[in-house]
Amino acid sequence: MCGIVGLFLKDKSLEPKLGAMLTEMLITMTDRGPDSAGIAIYGSDADNMSKLTVQSDAPDKDFAGLDAVLAERIGSAVTLRRKDTHAVLEMEHAAVDAARAALGDLRPGVRVMSAGDTIEIYKEVGLPKDVAARFDLSKMSGTHGIGHTRMATESAVTTLGAHPFSTGTDQCLVHNGSLSNHNSLRRRLKREGVRIETENDTEVGAAYLSWKMQHGATLGEALESSLEDLDGFFTFVVGTKDGFGVVRDPIACKPAVMAETDQYVAFGSEYRALVNLPGIDTARVWEPEPATVYFWNH
């Protein structure tokens, strides 16, 4: 059992409150996943700038002076904004690949949570309310975001085992369920040269989607093919730079509720997660169909 929440704003006036709304939804889903929690949030898009969200188990040591040494190595300005065990490194778009490569060299203990123009991913072990407080999630603004509360079944309770998983530039995935063919699929993807870091089933799902997209599939097509190639139970919610999508396996035993108003589209594993959203009493509320890909874009 895990909990998923998602919020895609249509009304720009709500953007400053995105973090607060999503945090409240996330904490409501604590019963479904008290082991760890995470959030992917899509903020404002600055021209020609990109960001890497990174994590370290020794942040004091790893983040000290990282912006300066990284800037020197890649020959381009870098700013660092630290939040607890995570930090957001911002740089010119063209410098991202070089920065990623240099990070492994300069700070081997630092792990990249996400890369993109607007995405930031924060995740840690602990109760959702504590994780949200550590990263001050409720103060964040943005256009859309996805959150996850984890009750671990397929792999250890670790930061890297928490969701969301990054699936590519400005893309992420969260999952409720368990994949049964993740070991064979992991071996297949590794043979194809895909890098997979953990024993976690969802990471394999994320890597699968990235791999499909690297071979020319759109996200929608990759999600469609996941229905064929992934065995097991899943409700997936994926985030992209300008939208979010939902797909459930054909059996659809993992719960999902959606709500839409003129102001937002919202996702919750349970209706409880949605009850404090503005106008929920008059929203269109429905359960997404099995084996059907849903997508909303700005």
């Binding site: 659809a252 035993c253 719960p255 349970e270 209706y271 009493d281 509320v285 359960e287 169909e289």
Partner: protein, 227 residues
Amino acid sequence: MQTINLEAEGLRSMNAVLQAQAKDTNQTSWEIENPKGSHAIAVGLDAPIDVTVKGSTGYYCAGMNKQATIHIKGSAGPGVAENMMSGTVIVDGDASQYAGATGRGGLLVIKGNASSRCGISMKGIDIVVHGNIGHMSAFMAQSGNLVVCGDAGDALGDSIYEARLFVRGSVKSLGADCVEKEMRPEHIQILRDLLDKAGCDAKPEEFRRYGSARQLYTFKIDNAGSY
């Protein structure tokens, strides 16, 4: 009219008050305010009382109901009216998966759509859905009636025993050992009665009936020793 504010009262306390009502209670009408999608609202009731839940509910609302009439003024989460014994449960909106599962008696009315596994393993309950139902509905259904005014999803009535299934719209596919059956006058009468009780103006003649072909190994006497 007795009113309980679920947020203020708390779930266990609210259920305890409702469960404590005697069969001859004079407090026959109850309203639950602020359900806010909470789980297990109004479960295990055993008195002829009317309970109105003013909003949508989470998992297992009205489970194990006996005698009571429970009216949900919103949508219901998974397992609404699970294992109902008697009484009536009405959902104004949609119902999530396994609505009315294993129910042994009473009437469940869903005015919107029901999702997957509606009436799974039903054992005597009557279920009337004004809209559509999802896949694997009435799986291993043993007795009772499932009435669907809209369409049914994949694998309707898989491994069904003696329950009757009535569908007005399309059936995406029938499950193993489930077949269409002749609609005889007694079925029209059963259906008319159920539609009437469920406040549905559909005509019984517009429905098709489905049930067990009784061809699975469970129906073969030679296999009795396996159980």
